[in-house]
């Protein structure tokens, strides 16, 4: 009995230590083995490799863009959950509940601001991350599928932001979604021109599927709310896990070959293995056998690797902190927009979609079908297929694949900028086919408009580059650069230079007074 009490007392004394051990099943020493155990002993951390190439820690390797996007997503989940506490997804109550969040809920306005800015940051970071990965050629050598996963994540990100736009039920969101749903209905352009809408109406079907009615109303709000808080976030989390896990399975960040083998440079030719450094991983090889693949860290020289814990995690925490700080700082000075209550009788003019869709809206102003569905679908398809059509592996991990790629990128940027500006400037100054030939068939305009021509010229340019250089990688660089520069310029035009009736204005100060 006395022994029992003593044991109990001892257990009580050791309680903090035993609890800690039961949760974190490793010793406290900072040995390489324990660092590795820390990672693969943790269900969340084990999405990382246990050891990473030390180059990964350099800023220029990733610029932290993927992590910024992931951090923003995390911030969005938390702030979104907080907003859900007060938000009421009903057309009668939604606007008032947002007003309450902004006026009386403690820190409600702050949390809503953070949510808004984190959403902007996430979209921007995802796009930049894609550009970074592309220009580093990091979609090659086993990473093809992860590139496709990334494209899907991009679409999910845009979908999340778009569905969130409607929820405040104000004029801004209402009319942005009305524009969006009309784009969904745009196949009618084609069916109308062919005169078959009466019995074959995929556009109308798409719109009704999106809105649950013929106009934006309670059904649309319910659908968008479900998509925004359940369907898309769940899909996002699942695919993010795949995305991260594949980064690890595909051997971490893409690296140029010479970096992979640099530690061997200048080494005396000798058969005998040099003494392993103290921090060489002991367990990794055994674990990796299961994978039966050369790509994971097995082909790395131990001296070039560092344990993920704590080095990588610290770096990731820094990126998160910077992202969070940016959201907080912006939220202190600017409020998230909220306009008057949605009113179906008073259209916003101009009714603009969220900024990242304004490049598309610019194309949509010529043809909703081409600008809103066909061109973006082709772009996404083209982006997704890049790794399968460009199979060159030599320059993976090199930004722009070296000097020739850099040259092509600059040339393509110039070419893309010129044609994007022309695609806006020509119609603004001289009108388009309808002004020149008033009786022209609408089918011709659907097919031949600045948006489709721009797409055609970009594709043609890339094929020329491909043909002249004989390199699929350079062709891909040309195509992607065109896509990126066109996107940026058209987005700028749609955001800043378009006013009421989608007319061209150099500045919002010139808009007619409303």
């Amino acid at each position: 009995m006395k022994r029992g009490l003593a044991a109990f007392a001892a257990n009580l004394r050791n309680l903090p230590a035993t609890v800690r051990q039961s949760v974190i099943r490793r010793g406290s020493s900072g040995s390489a083995r324990n660092s590795s155990l820390a990672v693969f002993g943790n269900v969340f951390l084990h999405l990382h490799a246990t050891r990473i190439h030390r180059r990964t820690l350099r800023f220029t390797a990733t610029m932290g863009l993927g992590m910024i996007a992931a951090s923003a997503f995390g911030i969005l989940c938390v702030t979104g959950l907080l907003l859900m506490v007060y938000y009421k997804p009903s057309t009668d109550l939604a606007y008032d509940s947002i007003k309450d969040i902004v006026t009386v809920v403690p820190s409600g306005r702050f949390v809503r601001n953070i949510h808004r800015f984190a959403a902007h940051i996430m979209v921007a970071a995802v796009l930049l991350h894609m550009a970074r990965v592309f220009f580093a050629g990091a979609y090659k050598r086993g990473r093809e599928f992860n590139w496709v996963v990334g494209i899907v994540l991009l679409i999910l990100t845009l979908g999340l932001s778009f569905t969130g736009y409607l929820l405040p039920w104000d004029q801004l969101g209402y009319w942005a979604i009305t524009v969006g749903s009309n784009i969904a209905a745009s196949p009618r352009e084609l069916t109308d021109a062919l005169g078959i809408t009466g019995w074959f109406d995929p556009g109308g079907f798409q719109k009704e599927l999106l809105l649950g009615a013929s106009e934006v109303g309670q059904e649309a709000l319910t659908r968008f709310y479900l998509l925004h808080v359940v369907v898309l976030p769940v899909a996002m989390v699942a695919l993010l896990a795949v995305h991260f896990w594949r980064v690890r399975k595909d051997g971490g960040l893409a690296r140029p070959d010479e970096i992979r083998t640099r530690s061997g440079e200048g080494a005396p030719a000798t058969d005998s293995l040099p003494t392993a450094p103290a921090e060489a991983p002991h367990k990794t090889y055994g674990l990796m056998c299961v994978v039966a693949d050369r790509r994971p860290a097995t082909d790395l020289d131990p001296v070039d690797t560092v344990p993920s814990w704590p080095f990588l995690l610290r770096a990731e925490l820094l990126v998160f902190m910077v992202t969070f700080f940016a959201c907080v700082a912006l939220s202190l000075f600017w409020d998230a927009p909220l306009k008057t209550l949605a009113n179906a009788a008073i259209p916003e003019n101009p009714a603009k979609a969220p900024w990242y869709f304004l490049g598309l809206q610019e194309l949509v102003s010529y043809s909703a079908l081409m600008g809103g569905l066909v061109v973006p679908a082709l772009s996404m398809l083209g982006l997704g297929l890049i790794p399968y059509l460009d199979r060159e592996t030599a320059d993976a991990g090199h930004y722009f694949a070296g000097r020739p790629g850099r040259r092509i990128a600059w040339l393509s940027a110039l070419f893309a900028a010129l044609f994007a500006v022309l695609a806006v400037a020509v119609p603004v100054n001289f009108g388009w086919l309808r002004n020149w030939f008033p009786d022209i068939d609408q089918l011709v305009i659907i097919l031949v408009n600045p948006g489709t021509l721009l797409t055609f010229f970009y594709a043609a340019w890339s094929l020329i580059v491909l043909w002249r250089s004989g390199s699929t990688r350079l062709g891909a660089i040309a195509l992607f650069t065109c896509f990126l520069v066109g996107f940026v310029i058209l987005t700028y035009v749609g955001t800043s230079l378009r006013g009421p009736n989608w007319d061209f204005y150099w500045s919002q100060a010139d808009w007619p007074v409303h």
């Binding site: 006026t103 306005r109 001296v303 560092v306």
Partner: protein
């Protein structure tokens, strides 16, 4: 082979140092951003929660309470005063008003001599308009949910009902009260505005509750019109609905280019009254239990019109164009001759049925809209009353010739035959100047309009042409005293006029 000489060892050491360097930088940056973020979060929490405007106002108010606490009751009030957000929620009116979080002294009679926002509500309104039952924004407008003065005013982009200037608050009376009830009770301007609205004949062109003309927009929800539905390009003052209305009354065409509204020519006072009345016309639904007995009565009358006399109906629905109706007049604004519908010229020819039918169906193709129940909203009883009023001053025909003509007029079976081709030539010479080509009307009424063609008998046409319309610009055309037409000319002319109806030129 020593460690220093082994190149692999040297490389490993370099690598280790690089990693350590990067890691150190990361750690320092992490510390700094973490502290900055913490400071930002702290500032955010402070900004919204620790020092909100309302709590500062309430602390000031508490001081006032303590200063004014001269007796036990006053001390109790001061002791019980808790610093907190307070609000009035009236689900029946859809109101959530937090104004009372800062306007704490509204119902405290001791606070008459202190400044806003602490002062008590002026007048005695709150005694029978308890804030708990009505809220504040029902009369004052503004953004009731807001908790800062700036947002409560609601002048920014995100609120459509900005706080009304105190002078316009009377517009709230009209939501529940009839004009007569609030006259002399603080709602004079509202009552005057309503009087102006009926007296000036606004409903000649504008519909209200389904009754009125069609030239202008219906005004049922004018007072809750969204600012986004208005164009403020020509409004000089603040971009609010009230300002828009006031400036628009002064100069309709200046504020809305191309407006067809005849300037109502209001004095400053009348402008204010009419603006207030317009603001009271809202499409918000008020539960029946909130409506005053007078309003219930008015609503009942609207369903069962009405005890308005013919004279009242005439000024309300006809006055803007026909004025008194005694004389034909050239309207400078509409650029039209307006018939003297109460003059003896018409009344000595036209039967009451003719008048009623023309009022009921209007004159398509002219400015005269149909007034029957389906369109203008007037019941047959009211139209009969109007006809009686129009006839009230009619003189019987004087000369024997006129009497004879009138007899022919009243004979519906009398058909006159003539040569339409020749009539056309006469029409071109004598009539086109005022009645327009093919009777389409310019400054004088359009003769080709189908209702006129259907209701006017040949005798009526003959008499009108022959005798003209005394008191209007229409001269007599028959004989040497007139424009010199002979009987056959008039018949040919009538034949031509009838051909216009068949030709369907309208």
């Amino acid at each position: 082979m020593s460690t220093e000489d082994d190149p692999r060892m040297r490389l490993a050491e370099d690598a280790r140092q690089e990693v350590a360097r990067i890691d150190r930088r990361i750690s320092i940056a992490l510390l700094i951003t973490a502290l900055l973020t913490l400071a930002g979060l702290f500032a955010g929490a402070l900004q919204e929660n620790i020092l909100p405007q309302w709590s500062l106002v309430q602390e000031q108010y508490l001081q006032l309470l303590e200063e004014k606490a001269t007796d036990d009751w006053g001390k109790q009030v001061a002791d019980r005063f808790a610093l907190q957000v307070s609000q009035v929620v009236v689900p029946a009116l859809g109101i959530t008003d937090r104004c009372v979080s800062c306007h704490n002294g509204l119902d405290d009679p001791r606070m008459t001599d202190v400044d806003q926002p602490h002062s008590s509500h002026p007048g005695h309104y709150l005694e029978w308009h308890e804030a708990s039952r009505f809220g504040c924004t029902i009369c004052h407008r503004g953004q009731g949910r807001a908790l800062t003065f700036e947002e409560a005013k609601g002048i920014s982009d995100d609120w459509d009902q900005p706080l009304l200037p105190p002078a316009l608050t009377q517009s709230g009376c009209g939501l529940c009260h009839s004009a007569d009830e609030v006259r002399g009770q603080g709602g004079e301007l509202y009552a005057q505005g309503r009087d102006l609205f009926t007296r000036r004949g606004c409903q000649s062109c504008h519909k209200l509750a389904g009754r009125g003309g069609i030239a202008g927009p219906a005004l049922d929800a004018e007072g809750s019109k969204s600012r986004e539905a208005l164009t403020f390009a020509n409004v000089k003052g603040p971009h609010t609905l009230a300002q828009f209305l006031a400036e628009h009354f002064d100069d309709p065409q200046g504020v809305v280019p191309g407006s067809e509204m005849k300037p109502p020519q209001l004095t400053l006072h009348e402008n204010l009254a009419l603006t207030i009345y317009m603001l009271s016309l809202q499409d918000r639904s008020i539960p029946a239990s909130y409506l005053s007995p007078g309003t219930h009565l008015e609503l009942a009358e609207e369903r069962l019109p009405g005890n308005e006399s013919g004279a009242e109906l005439f000024s309300r629905y006809c006055g803007v164009c026909h004025d008194t109706g005694r004389y034909g007049r050239y309207d400078d604004f509409f650029k039209l001759f307006i018939p003297a519908i109460r003059g003896k010229g018409l009344l000595s020819l036209a039967s009451s049925d003719y008048l009623a039918e023309n009022i009921r169906r209007g004159r398509p193709g002219t400015r005269m809209p149909p007034w029957g129940e389906a369109s203008g909203g007037l019941t047959d009883v009211e139209i009969a009353r109007l006809v009686t009023f129009i006839r009230s001053e009619v003189q019987p025909p004087e000369t024997a010739a006129a009497k004879k003509l009138m007899e022919r007029t009243l004979d519906p079976d009398l058909t006159l035959r003539g040569d339409a081709l020749r009539g056309g030539a006469i029409y071109a010479r004598h009539c086109t100047g005022c009645h327009g080509e093919e009777g389409r009307g310019t400054i004088a009424p359009a003769i080709a309009n189908p209702v006129f063609q259907e209701t006017a008998s040949d005798g009526f046409l003959y008499a009108t042409i022959a005798l003209g319309r005394p008191d209007t610009a229409m001269p007599n055309f028959l004989g040497v005293q007139g424009m010199g037409l002979v009987d056959g000319d008039v018949r040919d002319l009538i034949a031509y006029l009838r051909s216009l109806a068949q030709g369907g030129t309208l």
